[in-house]
Symmetry: C2
Subunit: 330 residues, 2 copies
Protein backbone atom coordinates (compact mmCIF):
# COMPACT_ATOMS: atom_id res chain seq x y z
CA UNK A 1 0.00 0.00 0.00
CA UNK A 2 2.79 2.38 0.85
CA UNK A 3 4.47 1.66 -2.42
CA UNK A 4 1.28 2.29 -4.30
CA UNK A 5 0.82 5.60 -2.47
CA UNK A 6 4.40 6.55 -3.30
CA UNK A 7 3.80 5.80 -6.97
CA UNK A 8 0.62 7.85 -6.98
CA UNK A 9 2.29 10.76 -5.23
CA UNK A 10 5.08 10.54 -7.74
CA UNK A 11 2.53 10.73 -10.53
CA UNK A 12 0.94 13.70 -8.79
CA UNK A 13 4.26 15.55 -8.59
CA UNK A 14 4.99 14.83 -12.24
CA UNK A 15 1.55 15.90 -13.45
CA UNK A 16 1.68 19.17 -11.57
CA UNK A 17 5.22 20.18 -12.47
CA UNK A 18 5.59 23.06 -14.91
CA UNK A 19 6.02 21.66 -18.41
CA UNK A 20 9.74 21.24 -18.99
CA UNK A 21 11.36 21.41 -22.41
CA UNK A 22 10.39 18.06 -23.84
CA UNK A 23 13.67 16.62 -24.96
CA UNK A 24 11.95 13.43 -26.08
CA UNK A 25 9.69 15.41 -28.46
CA UNK A 26 11.37 17.67 -31.00
CA UNK A 27 10.18 21.24 -30.36
CA UNK A 28 11.33 22.40 -33.81
CA UNK A 29 10.34 19.59 -36.22
CA UNK A 30 10.34 21.81 -39.32
CA UNK A 31 13.91 22.97 -38.74
CA UNK A 32 16.72 21.03 -40.41
CA UNK A 33 19.75 20.09 -38.38
CA UNK A 34 22.12 22.96 -38.94
CA UNK A 35 23.72 25.98 -37.36
CA UNK A 36 20.48 28.03 -37.17
CA UNK A 37 18.58 25.37 -35.26
CA UNK A 38 21.62 24.64 -33.09
CA UNK A 39 22.13 28.29 -32.16
CA UNK A 40 18.47 28.70 -31.16
CA UNK A 41 18.43 25.62 -28.95
CA UNK A 42 21.83 26.40 -27.40
CA UNK A 43 20.66 29.93 -26.55
CA UNK A 44 17.40 28.79 -24.95
CA UNK A 45 19.19 26.12 -22.92
CA UNK A 46 21.81 28.66 -21.73
CA UNK A 47 19.32 31.26 -20.48
CA UNK A 48 16.98 28.75 -18.83
CA UNK A 49 19.65 26.67 -17.04
CA UNK A 50 18.76 27.42 -13.43
CA UNK A 51 22.24 27.51 -11.91
CA UNK A 52 24.11 28.34 -15.09
CA UNK A 53 26.19 31.52 -15.54
CA UNK A 54 23.83 32.83 -18.24
CA UNK A 55 20.49 32.19 -16.50
CA UNK A 56 17.95 34.92 -17.28
CA UNK A 57 14.94 35.44 -15.03
CA UNK A 58 11.67 34.70 -16.90
CA UNK A 59 10.55 38.32 -16.36
CA UNK A 60 13.43 39.37 -18.63
CA UNK A 61 12.98 36.73 -21.32
CA UNK A 62 11.64 39.16 -23.91
CA UNK A 63 11.66 38.05 -27.56
CA UNK A 64 10.63 40.40 -30.37
CA UNK A 65 9.57 39.36 -33.88
CA UNK A 66 9.14 41.37 -37.01
CA UNK A 67 5.98 40.24 -38.85
CA UNK A 68 6.14 40.81 -42.65
CA UNK A 69 8.73 38.41 -44.07
CA UNK A 70 9.60 37.02 -40.65
CA UNK A 71 6.39 35.44 -39.35
CA UNK A 72 4.35 35.53 -42.55
CA UNK A 73 5.20 36.18 -46.20
CA UNK A 74 5.38 39.65 -47.74
CA UNK A 75 5.37 38.95 -51.48
CA UNK A 76 4.32 40.01 -54.06
CA UNK A 77 3.32 43.03 -51.89
CA UNK A 78 2.83 43.60 -48.16
CA UNK A 79 -0.48 41.91 -47.33
CA UNK A 80 -1.76 45.00 -45.58
CA UNK A 81 -1.30 46.91 -48.81
CA UNK A 82 -3.35 44.27 -50.65
CA UNK A 83 -6.00 44.80 -47.97
CA UNK A 84 -5.92 48.56 -48.67
CA UNK A 85 -6.30 47.95 -52.40
CA UNK A 86 -9.33 45.74 -51.80
CA UNK A 87 -10.79 48.44 -49.55
CA UNK A 88 -10.33 51.08 -52.24
CA UNK A 89 -12.20 48.84 -54.68
CA UNK A 90 -14.97 48.21 -52.12
CA UNK A 91 -15.33 51.93 -51.39
CA UNK A 92 -15.08 53.11 -55.01
CA UNK A 93 -18.85 53.09 -55.73
CA UNK A 94 -19.28 55.71 -52.97
CA UNK A 95 -16.48 57.82 -54.50
CA UNK A 96 -17.19 58.51 -58.18
CA UNK A 97 -14.59 61.31 -58.00
CA UNK A 98 -11.83 58.66 -57.68
CA UNK A 99 -12.27 57.76 -61.37
CA UNK A 100 -10.26 60.87 -62.21
CA UNK A 101 -8.03 61.02 -59.18
CA UNK A 102 -4.70 59.30 -58.59
CA UNK A 103 -3.70 56.99 -57.03
CA UNK A 104 -7.30 55.71 -56.87
CA UNK A 105 -7.99 55.66 -60.62
CA UNK A 106 -5.01 53.37 -61.26
CA UNK A 107 -5.81 51.18 -58.25
CA UNK A 108 -9.35 50.61 -59.50
CA UNK A 109 -7.91 49.48 -62.83
CA UNK A 110 -5.53 47.14 -60.98
CA UNK A 111 -2.52 49.12 -62.23
CA UNK A 112 -0.41 48.99 -59.08
CA UNK A 113 2.68 50.41 -60.71
CA UNK A 114 1.04 53.66 -61.80
CA UNK A 115 -0.80 53.92 -58.48
CA UNK A 116 2.48 53.71 -56.57
CA UNK A 117 4.34 56.07 -58.90
CA UNK A 118 3.11 58.85 -56.60
CA UNK A 119 5.45 57.54 -53.89
CA UNK A 120 4.88 58.23 -50.22
CA UNK A 121 2.16 60.80 -50.90
CA UNK A 122 0.14 58.21 -52.84
CA UNK A 123 0.58 55.62 -50.09
CA UNK A 124 -0.47 58.13 -47.42
CA UNK A 125 -3.61 58.95 -49.43
CA UNK A 126 -4.48 55.26 -49.77
CA UNK A 127 -3.94 54.68 -46.04
CA UNK A 128 -6.01 57.74 -45.14
CA UNK A 129 -9.11 56.54 -46.96
CA UNK A 130 -8.76 52.88 -45.96
CA UNK A 131 -7.42 53.10 -42.40
CA UNK A 132 -9.09 56.25 -41.05
CA UNK A 133 -12.46 57.96 -40.89
CA UNK A 134 -14.07 55.14 -38.90
CA UNK A 135 -14.13 53.94 -35.30
CA UNK A 136 -11.57 51.41 -34.08
CA UNK A 137 -14.35 48.84 -33.66
CA UNK A 138 -15.55 49.36 -37.22
CA UNK A 139 -11.99 48.91 -38.51
CA UNK A 140 -11.53 45.71 -36.49
CA UNK A 141 -14.59 44.19 -38.15
CA UNK A 142 -13.49 45.23 -41.66
CA UNK A 143 -10.00 43.76 -41.16
CA UNK A 144 -11.30 40.54 -39.60
CA UNK A 145 -13.77 40.02 -42.46
CA UNK A 146 -11.08 40.60 -45.10
CA UNK A 147 -8.74 38.13 -43.39
CA UNK A 148 -11.34 35.37 -43.57
CA UNK A 149 -12.47 36.05 -47.14
CA UNK A 150 -9.46 37.35 -49.11
CA UNK A 151 -7.01 35.02 -50.82
CA UNK A 152 -3.32 35.38 -51.64
CA UNK A 153 -2.88 36.26 -55.36
CA UNK A 154 -0.45 33.44 -56.21
CA UNK A 155 -1.11 30.65 -53.68
CA UNK A 156 -4.86 31.26 -53.36
CA UNK A 157 -4.53 30.61 -49.61
CA UNK A 158 -6.08 32.74 -46.87
CA UNK A 159 -3.41 35.23 -45.78
CA UNK A 160 -3.30 33.77 -42.27
CA UNK A 161 -2.15 30.48 -43.87
CA UNK A 162 0.87 32.29 -45.33
CA UNK A 163 2.65 32.06 -41.96
CA UNK A 164 5.90 30.17 -41.60
CA UNK A 165 5.48 26.85 -39.78
CA UNK A 166 9.08 26.89 -38.43
CA UNK A 167 8.43 30.31 -36.88
CA UNK A 168 5.18 29.14 -35.26
CA UNK A 169 7.19 26.29 -33.73
CA UNK A 170 9.81 28.77 -32.56
CA UNK A 171 7.17 31.00 -30.90
CA UNK A 172 5.72 27.99 -29.08
CA UNK A 173 9.18 26.73 -28.09
CA UNK A 174 10.19 30.11 -26.64
CA UNK A 175 6.93 30.50 -24.71
CA UNK A 176 7.25 26.97 -23.32
CA UNK A 177 10.62 28.14 -22.01
CA UNK A 178 9.22 31.16 -20.18
CA UNK A 179 9.70 33.79 -22.90
CA UNK A 180 7.20 36.57 -23.53
CA UNK A 181 6.84 36.89 -27.31
CA UNK A 182 6.12 40.26 -28.95
CA UNK A 183 5.51 41.39 -32.51
CA UNK A 184 7.47 44.55 -33.36
CA UNK A 185 6.54 45.30 -36.95
CA UNK A 186 6.25 48.15 -39.41
CA UNK A 187 2.72 46.91 -40.14
CA UNK A 188 -0.33 48.70 -38.79
CA UNK A 189 -0.94 47.68 -35.19
CA UNK A 190 -4.72 47.38 -35.49
CA UNK A 191 -4.49 45.38 -38.70
CA UNK A 192 -2.12 42.91 -37.02
CA UNK A 193 -4.18 42.66 -33.84
CA UNK A 194 -7.05 41.38 -35.99
CA UNK A 195 -5.20 38.05 -36.40
CA UNK A 196 -2.11 37.97 -34.13
CA UNK A 197 -3.70 36.27 -31.14
CA UNK A 198 -5.43 33.55 -33.14
CA UNK A 199 -2.60 33.01 -35.61
CA UNK A 200 0.48 33.42 -33.41
CA UNK A 201 -0.84 33.23 -29.85
CA UNK A 202 0.36 36.81 -29.33
CA UNK A 203 -2.20 38.96 -27.49
CA UNK A 204 -3.09 42.50 -28.57
CA UNK A 205 -0.95 44.21 -25.92
CA UNK A 206 2.13 42.30 -27.11
CA UNK A 207 1.54 43.35 -30.71
CA UNK A 208 3.43 46.54 -31.54
CA UNK A 209 3.28 48.27 -34.90
CA UNK A 210 2.88 51.51 -36.78
CA UNK A 211 -0.17 53.55 -35.91
CA UNK A 212 -2.25 56.56 -36.83
CA UNK A 213 -3.51 59.20 -34.44
CA UNK A 214 -6.80 58.47 -32.72
CA UNK A 215 -9.39 60.50 -30.89
CA UNK A 216 -11.82 59.73 -28.10
CA UNK A 217 -15.23 61.31 -28.51
CA UNK A 218 -18.84 60.93 -27.47
CA UNK A 219 -20.96 60.21 -30.55
CA UNK A 220 -24.75 60.02 -30.12
CA UNK A 221 -24.18 59.70 -26.38
CA UNK A 222 -21.81 56.75 -26.86
CA UNK A 223 -18.03 56.89 -26.38
CA UNK A 224 -16.07 55.89 -29.48
CA UNK A 225 -12.45 56.08 -30.60
CA UNK A 226 -12.06 57.33 -34.16
CA UNK A 227 -9.10 56.77 -36.45
CA UNK A 228 -7.62 60.00 -37.84
CA UNK A 229 -5.82 60.27 -41.21
CA UNK A 230 -2.52 61.24 -39.61
CA UNK A 231 0.55 59.12 -38.84
CA UNK A 232 1.34 58.79 -35.13
CA UNK A 233 4.24 56.35 -35.01
CA UNK A 234 6.31 54.50 -37.63
CA UNK A 235 7.59 51.26 -36.13
CA UNK A 236 10.38 50.65 -38.62
CA UNK A 237 14.17 51.02 -38.67
CA UNK A 238 15.29 53.17 -35.72
CA UNK A 239 11.59 53.34 -34.76
CA UNK A 240 11.75 49.68 -33.70
CA UNK A 241 14.02 50.10 -30.65
CA UNK A 242 12.07 53.26 -29.80
CA UNK A 243 8.82 51.28 -30.05
CA UNK A 244 10.30 48.54 -27.89
CA UNK A 245 11.22 51.09 -25.22
CA UNK A 246 7.83 52.81 -25.48
CA UNK A 247 5.63 49.70 -25.41
CA UNK A 248 7.69 47.00 -23.71
CA UNK A 249 10.00 49.12 -21.55
CA UNK A 250 12.59 46.37 -21.45
CA UNK A 251 15.41 45.43 -23.78
CA UNK A 252 14.78 42.09 -25.52
CA UNK A 253 17.26 39.23 -25.21
CA UNK A 254 16.20 37.75 -28.54
CA UNK A 255 15.13 39.48 -31.77
CA UNK A 256 14.03 38.08 -35.13
CA UNK A 257 13.77 39.93 -38.42
CA UNK A 258 14.30 39.62 -42.16
CA UNK A 259 15.15 43.06 -43.53
CA UNK A 260 17.17 46.23 -43.07
CA UNK A 261 14.11 47.65 -41.31
CA UNK A 262 14.91 45.24 -38.46
CA UNK A 263 18.59 46.15 -38.23
CA UNK A 264 18.31 48.63 -35.36
CA UNK A 265 16.09 46.25 -33.38
CA UNK A 266 18.77 43.57 -33.70
CA UNK A 267 21.55 46.05 -32.85
CA UNK A 268 19.65 47.20 -29.76
CA UNK A 269 19.04 43.60 -28.65
CA UNK A 270 22.48 42.18 -29.31
CA UNK A 271 24.63 45.05 -28.03
CA UNK A 272 23.25 44.63 -24.50
CA UNK A 273 25.39 42.90 -21.90
CA UNK A 274 24.42 39.31 -21.11
CA UNK A 275 23.28 36.49 -23.37
CA UNK A 276 21.29 37.35 -26.48
CA UNK A 277 20.21 35.94 -29.82
CA UNK A 278 19.76 37.87 -33.06
CA UNK A 279 18.41 36.06 -36.09
CA UNK A 280 17.71 37.05 -39.68
CA UNK A 281 15.42 35.02 -41.92
CA UNK A 282 17.03 35.06 -45.38
CA UNK A 283 14.58 34.48 -48.23
CA UNK A 284 16.47 32.04 -50.45
CA UNK A 285 13.80 29.67 -51.71
CA UNK A 286 12.30 30.78 -55.02
CA UNK A 287 10.45 27.47 -55.38
CA UNK A 288 8.62 27.09 -52.09
CA UNK A 289 8.51 30.80 -51.17
CA UNK A 290 10.43 33.71 -52.74
CA UNK A 291 14.12 34.55 -53.11
CA UNK A 292 15.14 38.18 -52.54
CA UNK A 293 17.53 40.28 -50.50
CA UNK A 294 19.91 43.14 -51.37
CA UNK A 295 18.00 44.76 -54.21
CA UNK A 296 14.39 43.97 -53.35
CA UNK A 297 11.93 46.84 -52.96
CA UNK A 298 9.99 44.72 -50.45
CA UNK A 299 11.97 43.41 -47.47
CA UNK A 300 15.36 44.64 -48.65
CA UNK A 301 18.14 42.86 -46.72
CA UNK A 302 21.49 44.46 -47.53
CA UNK A 303 23.17 46.30 -44.66
CA UNK A 304 21.62 43.80 -42.28
CA UNK A 305 23.21 40.86 -44.08
CA UNK A 306 26.63 42.49 -43.83
CA UNK A 307 26.19 43.31 -40.16
CA UNK A 308 24.97 39.77 -39.43
CA UNK A 309 28.29 38.48 -40.74
CA UNK A 310 30.35 40.98 -38.78
CA UNK A 311 28.40 40.40 -35.54
CA UNK A 312 28.02 36.65 -35.93
CA UNK A 313 24.23 36.76 -35.85
CA UNK A 314 22.26 33.70 -36.89
CA UNK A 315 21.10 33.72 -40.52
CA UNK A 316 18.39 31.28 -41.55
CA UNK A 317 18.82 30.01 -45.08
CA UNK A 318 15.17 29.33 -45.80
CA UNK A 319 15.96 26.82 -48.53
CA UNK A 320 18.14 24.54 -46.43
CA UNK A 321 17.19 25.38 -42.82
CA UNK A 322 13.44 24.91 -43.17
CA UNK A 323 12.15 21.43 -44.04
CA UNK A 324 8.67 22.82 -44.48
CA UNK A 325 7.74 26.49 -44.91
CA UNK A 326 3.92 26.61 -44.99
CA UNK A 327 1.49 24.21 -43.30
CA UNK A 328 -0.48 23.89 -46.55
CA UNK A 329 2.52 22.45 -48.45
CA UNK A 330 1.87 18.92 -49.67
Amino acid sequence: MKNFAAVMLGALALSCAAPAARTETDPLPSWSDGSARTSIIAFVERVTKKDGPDFVDPSQRIATFDNDGTLWAEQPLYFQFLFAVDRVKALAPQHPEWKNKEPFASLEKGDMKSALSGGEKAIAEILAVTHAGMTTEEFEKIAATWLTTARHPTTNQPFTSMVYKPMLELLTYLRANGFKTFIVSGGGVEFMRAFAEKTYGIPAEQTIGSSGKEKFEIRDGKPVITKLPEIDFVDDGPGKPVGIQKFIGQRPIAAFGNSDGDLQMLQWTCSAPGPHLCLYVHHTDATREWAYDRTSSIGKLDKGLDEATVQGWTVVDMKTDWKQIFSFEP
Copy 2:
Protein backbone atom coordinates in the same frame (compact mmCIF):
# COMPACT_ATOMS: atom_id res chain seq x y z
CA MET B 1 -7.16 -0.76 -3.70
CA LYS B 2 -9.51 0.66 -6.27
CA ASN B 3 -10.99 3.05 -3.75
CA PHE B 4 -7.56 4.24 -2.70
CA ALA B 5 -6.64 4.86 -6.33
CA ALA B 6 -9.86 6.82 -6.82
CA VAL B 7 -9.04 8.98 -3.81
CA MET B 8 -5.53 9.63 -5.08
CA LEU B 9 -6.78 10.46 -8.56
CA GLY B 10 -9.30 12.80 -6.99
CA ALA B 11 -6.43 14.49 -5.13
CA LEU B 12 -4.52 14.69 -8.39
CA ALA B 13 -7.44 16.41 -10.11
CA LEU B 14 -7.88 18.83 -7.21
CA SER B 15 -4.19 19.73 -6.95
CA CYS B 16 -3.91 20.42 -10.64
CA ALA B 17 -7.04 22.56 -10.89
CA ALA B 18 -6.51 26.30 -11.39
CA PRO B 19 -6.51 28.08 -8.02
CA ALA B 20 -10.09 29.10 -7.21
CA ALA B 21 -11.03 32.21 -5.22
CA ARG B 22 -10.26 31.19 -1.65
CA THR B 23 -13.51 31.85 0.16
CA GLU B 24 -12.03 30.61 3.44
CA THR B 25 -9.35 33.35 3.36
CA ASP B 26 -10.52 36.94 2.93
CA PRO B 27 -8.89 38.32 -0.24
CA LEU B 28 -9.64 41.93 0.76
CA PRO B 29 -8.88 42.14 4.52
CA SER B 30 -8.37 45.93 4.54
CA TRP B 31 -11.80 46.57 3.01
CA SER B 32 -14.73 47.18 5.39
CA ASP B 33 -17.98 45.38 4.74
CA GLY B 34 -19.90 47.80 2.59
CA SER B 35 -21.19 48.44 -0.90
CA ALA B 36 -17.74 49.06 -2.44
CA ARG B 37 -16.34 45.74 -1.28
CA THR B 38 -19.58 43.95 -2.15
CA SER B 39 -19.67 45.36 -5.68
CA ILE B 40 -16.06 44.30 -6.35
CA ILE B 41 -16.57 40.74 -5.16
CA ALA B 42 -19.93 40.38 -6.90
CA PHE B 43 -18.38 41.57 -10.18
CA VAL B 44 -15.41 39.19 -9.97
CA GLU B 45 -17.66 36.25 -9.12
CA ARG B 46 -19.99 37.08 -12.04
CA VAL B 47 -17.28 37.25 -14.70
CA THR B 48 -15.41 34.16 -13.47
CA LYS B 49 -18.44 31.88 -13.03
CA LYS B 50 -17.71 29.26 -15.66
CA ASP B 51 -21.25 28.54 -16.84
CA GLY B 52 -22.78 31.85 -15.77
CA PRO B 53 -24.39 34.27 -18.26
CA ASP B 54 -21.68 36.91 -17.60
CA PHE B 55 -18.60 34.71 -17.86
CA VAL B 56 -15.67 36.55 -19.45
CA ASP B 57 -12.78 34.65 -20.99
CA PRO B 58 -9.50 35.31 -19.09
CA SER B 59 -7.98 36.81 -22.26
CA GLN B 60 -10.54 39.62 -21.98
CA ARG B 61 -10.26 40.22 -18.23
CA ILE B 62 -8.45 43.54 -18.59
CA ALA B 63 -8.36 45.87 -15.55
CA THR B 64 -6.84 49.36 -15.75
CA PHE B 65 -5.70 51.45 -12.80
CA ASP B 66 -4.80 55.09 -12.57
CA ASN B 67 -1.70 55.52 -10.37
CA ASP B 68 -1.53 58.96 -8.62
CA GLY B 69 -4.30 59.07 -6.01
CA THR B 70 -5.59 55.60 -6.96
CA LEU B 71 -2.69 53.24 -6.21
CA TRP B 72 -0.45 55.61 -4.29
CA ALA B 73 -0.95 59.05 -2.72
CA GLU B 74 -0.58 62.31 -4.67
CA GLN B 75 -0.42 64.95 -1.92
CA PRO B 76 0.94 67.50 -1.20
CA LEU B 77 2.17 67.33 -4.84
CA TYR B 78 2.48 64.55 -7.46
CA PHE B 79 5.49 62.50 -6.34
CA GLN B 80 7.04 62.70 -9.78
CA PHE B 81 7.04 66.46 -9.48
CA LEU B 82 8.86 66.18 -6.13
CA PHE B 83 11.36 63.96 -7.95
CA ALA B 84 11.82 66.68 -10.59
CA VAL B 85 12.37 69.31 -7.89
CA ASP B 86 15.05 67.15 -6.25
CA ARG B 87 16.69 66.68 -9.66
CA VAL B 88 16.76 70.45 -10.26
CA LYS B 89 18.49 70.88 -6.89
CA ALA B 90 20.98 68.10 -7.68
CA LEU B 91 21.76 69.58 -11.12
CA ALA B 92 21.92 73.22 -9.96
CA PRO B 93 25.69 73.30 -9.29
CA GLN B 94 26.28 72.51 -13.00
CA HIS B 95 23.89 75.32 -13.98
CA PRO B 96 24.93 78.59 -12.34
CA GLU B 97 22.71 80.41 -14.87
CA TRP B 98 19.61 78.98 -13.12
CA LYS B 99 20.19 81.39 -10.20
CA ASN B 100 18.64 84.13 -12.34
CA LYS B 101 16.26 82.06 -14.40
CA GLU B 102 12.73 81.05 -13.54
CA PRO B 103 11.34 78.57 -12.68
CA PHE B 104 14.70 77.23 -11.50
CA ALA B 105 15.63 80.14 -9.21
CA SER B 106 12.41 79.73 -7.19
CA LEU B 107 12.71 75.94 -7.12
CA GLU B 108 16.24 76.15 -5.69
CA LYS B 109 14.89 78.36 -2.94
CA GLY B 110 12.08 75.86 -2.27
CA ASP B 111 9.47 78.42 -3.35
CA MET B 112 7.17 76.07 -5.23
CA LYS B 113 4.37 78.61 -5.64
CA SER B 114 6.52 81.14 -7.54
CA ALA B 115 8.13 78.36 -9.56
CA LEU B 116 4.74 77.13 -10.72
CA SER B 117 3.36 80.61 -11.38
CA GLY B 118 4.80 80.19 -14.89
CA GLY B 119 2.11 77.57 -15.56
CA GLU B 120 2.52 74.92 -18.23
CA LYS B 121 5.59 76.59 -19.73
CA ALA B 122 7.37 76.41 -16.38
CA ILE B 123 6.43 72.75 -15.91
CA ALA B 124 7.60 71.90 -19.43
CA GLU B 125 10.96 73.57 -18.70
CA ILE B 126 11.35 71.61 -15.47
CA LEU B 127 10.50 68.33 -17.21
CA ALA B 128 12.87 69.11 -20.09
CA VAL B 129 15.91 69.46 -17.84
CA THR B 130 15.01 66.60 -15.48
CA HIS B 131 13.46 64.03 -17.81
CA ALA B 132 15.43 64.52 -21.04
CA GLY B 133 18.98 64.93 -22.29
CA MET B 134 20.07 61.51 -21.09
CA THR B 135 19.73 57.90 -22.19
CA THR B 136 16.79 55.80 -21.03
CA GLU B 137 19.17 53.62 -19.02
CA GLU B 138 20.67 56.65 -17.27
CA PHE B 139 17.18 57.89 -16.39
CA GLU B 140 16.17 54.48 -15.02
CA LYS B 141 19.11 54.56 -12.61
CA ILE B 142 18.39 58.13 -11.47
CA ALA B 143 14.72 57.35 -10.80
CA ALA B 144 15.49 54.07 -9.02
CA THR B 145 18.05 55.77 -6.76
CA TRP B 146 15.63 58.57 -5.88
CA LEU B 147 12.89 56.08 -5.03
CA THR B 148 15.12 54.30 -2.52
CA THR B 149 16.56 57.45 -0.90
CA ALA B 150 13.90 60.18 -1.00
CA ARG B 151 11.26 60.55 1.72
CA HIS B 152 7.72 61.90 1.64
CA PRO B 153 7.64 65.46 3.05
CA THR B 154 4.95 64.86 5.68
CA THR B 155 5.05 61.13 6.51
CA ASN B 156 8.84 60.73 6.08
CA GLN B 157 8.16 57.36 4.40
CA PRO B 158 9.78 56.16 1.17
CA PHE B 159 7.40 57.06 -1.65
CA THR B 160 6.87 53.39 -2.50
CA SER B 161 5.42 52.96 1.01
CA MET B 162 2.76 55.56 0.18
CA VAL B 163 0.75 52.93 -1.72
CA TYR B 164 -2.76 51.97 -0.61
CA LYS B 165 -2.89 48.56 1.06
CA PRO B 166 -6.52 47.93 -0.01
CA MET B 167 -5.55 48.56 -3.64
CA LEU B 168 -2.60 46.16 -3.42
CA GLU B 169 -5.05 43.55 -2.14
CA LEU B 170 -7.40 44.37 -5.01
CA LEU B 171 -4.60 43.96 -7.60
CA THR B 172 -3.69 40.57 -6.13
CA TYR B 173 -7.33 39.50 -5.93
CA LEU B 174 -7.99 40.39 -9.57
CA ARG B 175 -4.84 38.62 -10.80
CA ALA B 176 -5.72 35.51 -8.75
CA ASN B 177 -8.98 35.56 -10.71
CA GLY B 178 -7.32 35.63 -14.11
CA PHE B 179 -7.28 39.39 -14.71
CA LYS B 180 -4.42 41.19 -16.42
CA THR B 181 -3.76 44.38 -14.45
CA PHE B 182 -2.50 47.54 -16.17
CA ILE B 183 -1.51 50.99 -14.97
CA VAL B 184 -2.98 53.75 -17.16
CA SER B 185 -1.72 56.96 -15.61
CA GLY B 186 -0.89 60.55 -16.46
CA GLY B 187 2.48 59.97 -14.78
CA GLY B 188 5.64 59.50 -16.81
CA VAL B 189 5.86 55.93 -18.05
CA GLU B 190 9.59 55.50 -17.41
CA PHE B 191 9.32 56.99 -13.92
CA MET B 192 6.54 54.52 -13.05
CA ARG B 193 8.33 51.55 -14.58
CA ALA B 194 11.16 52.18 -12.10
CA PHE B 195 8.91 50.84 -9.30
CA ALA B 196 5.70 49.36 -10.74
CA GLU B 197 6.85 45.75 -10.99
CA LYS B 198 8.36 45.59 -7.50
CA THR B 199 5.63 47.65 -5.82
CA TYR B 200 2.49 46.52 -7.66
CA GLY B 201 3.54 43.35 -9.47
CA ILE B 202 2.79 45.12 -12.77
CA PRO B 203 5.47 44.54 -15.42
CA ALA B 204 6.89 47.32 -17.60
CA GLU B 205 4.81 46.44 -20.67
CA GLN B 206 1.60 46.69 -18.63
CA THR B 207 2.55 50.14 -17.33
CA ILE B 208 1.16 52.88 -19.57
CA GLY B 209 1.75 56.58 -18.99
CA SER B 210 2.68 59.91 -20.49
CA SER B 211 5.92 59.98 -22.44
CA GLY B 212 8.43 62.18 -24.20
CA LYS B 213 9.84 61.59 -27.65
CA GLU B 214 12.90 59.35 -27.84
CA LYS B 215 15.60 58.70 -30.38
CA PHE B 216 17.72 55.67 -31.23
CA GLU B 217 21.33 56.48 -32.05
CA ILE B 218 24.78 54.95 -32.12
CA ARG B 219 26.98 56.75 -29.59
CA ASP B 220 30.68 55.82 -29.43
CA GLY B 221 29.83 52.68 -31.38
CA LYS B 222 27.15 51.68 -28.87
CA PRO B 223 23.39 51.86 -29.52
CA VAL B 224 21.52 54.05 -27.04
CA ILE B 225 18.03 55.54 -26.78
CA THR B 226 18.04 59.18 -25.72
CA LYS B 227 15.20 61.09 -24.14
CA LEU B 228 14.24 64.25 -26.03
CA PRO B 229 12.73 67.37 -24.41
CA GLU B 230 9.49 67.07 -26.35
CA ILE B 231 6.12 65.63 -25.28
CA ASP B 232 5.05 62.55 -27.25
CA PHE B 233 1.85 61.42 -25.52
CA VAL B 234 -0.26 62.75 -22.64
CA ASP B 235 -2.05 59.86 -20.98
CA ASP B 236 -4.73 61.87 -19.21
CA GLY B 237 -8.42 62.62 -19.73
CA PRO B 238 -9.45 61.61 -23.29
CA GLY B 239 -5.83 60.47 -23.72
CA LYS B 240 -6.53 57.51 -21.40
CA PRO B 241 -8.92 55.58 -23.66
CA VAL B 242 -6.65 56.47 -26.60
CA GLY B 243 -3.67 55.11 -24.61
CA ILE B 244 -5.62 51.96 -23.78
CA GLN B 245 -6.38 51.39 -27.46
CA LYS B 246 -2.78 52.16 -28.47
CA PHE B 247 -1.01 50.03 -25.86
CA ILE B 248 -3.53 47.37 -24.80
CA GLY B 249 -5.69 47.15 -27.92
CA GLN B 250 -8.62 45.81 -25.93
CA ARG B 251 -11.38 47.52 -24.00
CA PRO B 252 -11.05 46.93 -20.24
CA ILE B 253 -13.90 45.36 -18.27
CA ALA B 254 -12.82 47.09 -15.05
CA ALA B 255 -11.33 50.55 -14.49
CA PHE B 256 -10.20 52.32 -11.33
CA GLY B 257 -9.48 56.01 -10.87
CA ASN B 258 -9.80 58.94 -8.49
CA SER B 259 -10.10 62.12 -10.54
CA ASP B 260 -11.72 63.83 -13.50
CA GLY B 261 -8.61 62.81 -15.46
CA ASP B 262 -9.91 59.24 -15.24
CA LEU B 263 -13.46 60.04 -16.35
CA GLN B 264 -13.04 59.12 -20.02
CA MET B 265 -11.30 55.84 -19.10
CA LEU B 266 -14.28 54.92 -16.93
CA GLN B 267 -16.75 56.02 -19.61
CA TRP B 268 -14.93 53.91 -22.21
CA THR B 269 -14.86 50.88 -19.91
CA CYS B 270 -18.40 51.04 -18.60
CA SER B 271 -20.25 51.94 -21.82
CA ALA B 272 -19.18 48.66 -23.44
CA PRO B 273 -21.69 45.84 -23.72
CA GLY B 274 -21.26 43.02 -21.21
CA PRO B 275 -20.34 43.08 -17.52
CA HIS B 276 -18.04 45.85 -16.27
CA LEU B 277 -16.94 47.60 -13.11
CA CYS B 278 -16.02 51.26 -12.75
CA LEU B 279 -14.73 52.51 -9.42
CA TYR B 280 -13.67 55.89 -8.09
CA VAL B 281 -11.51 56.24 -4.98
CA HIS B 282 -12.87 59.28 -3.11
CA HIS B 283 -10.33 60.94 -0.81
CA THR B 284 -12.37 61.58 2.33
CA ASP B 285 -9.94 60.91 5.17
CA ALA B 286 -8.10 64.04 6.31
CA THR B 287 -6.67 62.18 9.32
CA ARG B 288 -5.13 59.06 7.82
CA GLU B 289 -4.62 60.41 4.28
CA TRP B 290 -6.04 63.60 2.70
CA ALA B 291 -9.55 64.88 2.01
CA TYR B 292 -10.11 66.62 -1.32
CA ASP B 293 -12.35 66.49 -4.37
CA ARG B 294 -14.28 69.14 -6.33
CA THR B 295 -11.98 72.12 -5.86
CA SER B 296 -8.57 70.49 -5.48
CA SER B 297 -5.78 71.51 -7.89
CA ILE B 298 -4.31 68.00 -7.48
CA GLY B 299 -6.64 65.11 -8.27
CA LYS B 300 -9.76 67.19 -8.84
CA LEU B 301 -12.87 64.99 -8.70
CA ASP B 302 -15.92 66.97 -9.74
CA LYS B 303 -17.55 65.93 -13.03
CA GLY B 304 -16.49 62.36 -12.29
CA LEU B 305 -18.33 62.35 -8.97
CA ASP B 306 -21.52 63.52 -10.67
CA GLU B 307 -21.21 60.96 -13.44
CA ALA B 308 -20.52 58.19 -10.91
CA THR B 309 -23.89 58.95 -9.31
CA VAL B 310 -25.72 59.05 -12.64
CA GLN B 311 -24.10 55.84 -13.92
CA GLY B 312 -24.18 53.96 -10.63
CA TRP B 313 -20.40 53.47 -10.53
CA THR B 314 -18.79 52.30 -7.29
CA VAL B 315 -17.39 55.11 -5.13
CA VAL B 316 -14.96 54.18 -2.36
CA ASP B 317 -15.33 56.38 0.69
CA MET B 318 -11.75 56.11 1.90
CA LYS B 319 -12.67 56.99 5.48
CA THR B 320 -15.26 54.26 5.95
CA ASP B 321 -14.45 51.69 3.23
CA TRP B 322 -10.79 51.21 4.06
CA LYS B 323 -9.90 49.77 7.49
CA GLN B 324 -6.25 50.47 6.82
CA ILE B 325 -4.82 52.81 4.18
CA PHE B 326 -1.02 52.42 4.37
CA SER B 327 0.95 49.37 5.50
CA PHE B 328 3.08 51.56 7.79
CA GLU B 329 0.06 52.68 9.84
CA PRO B 330 0.31 51.57 13.48
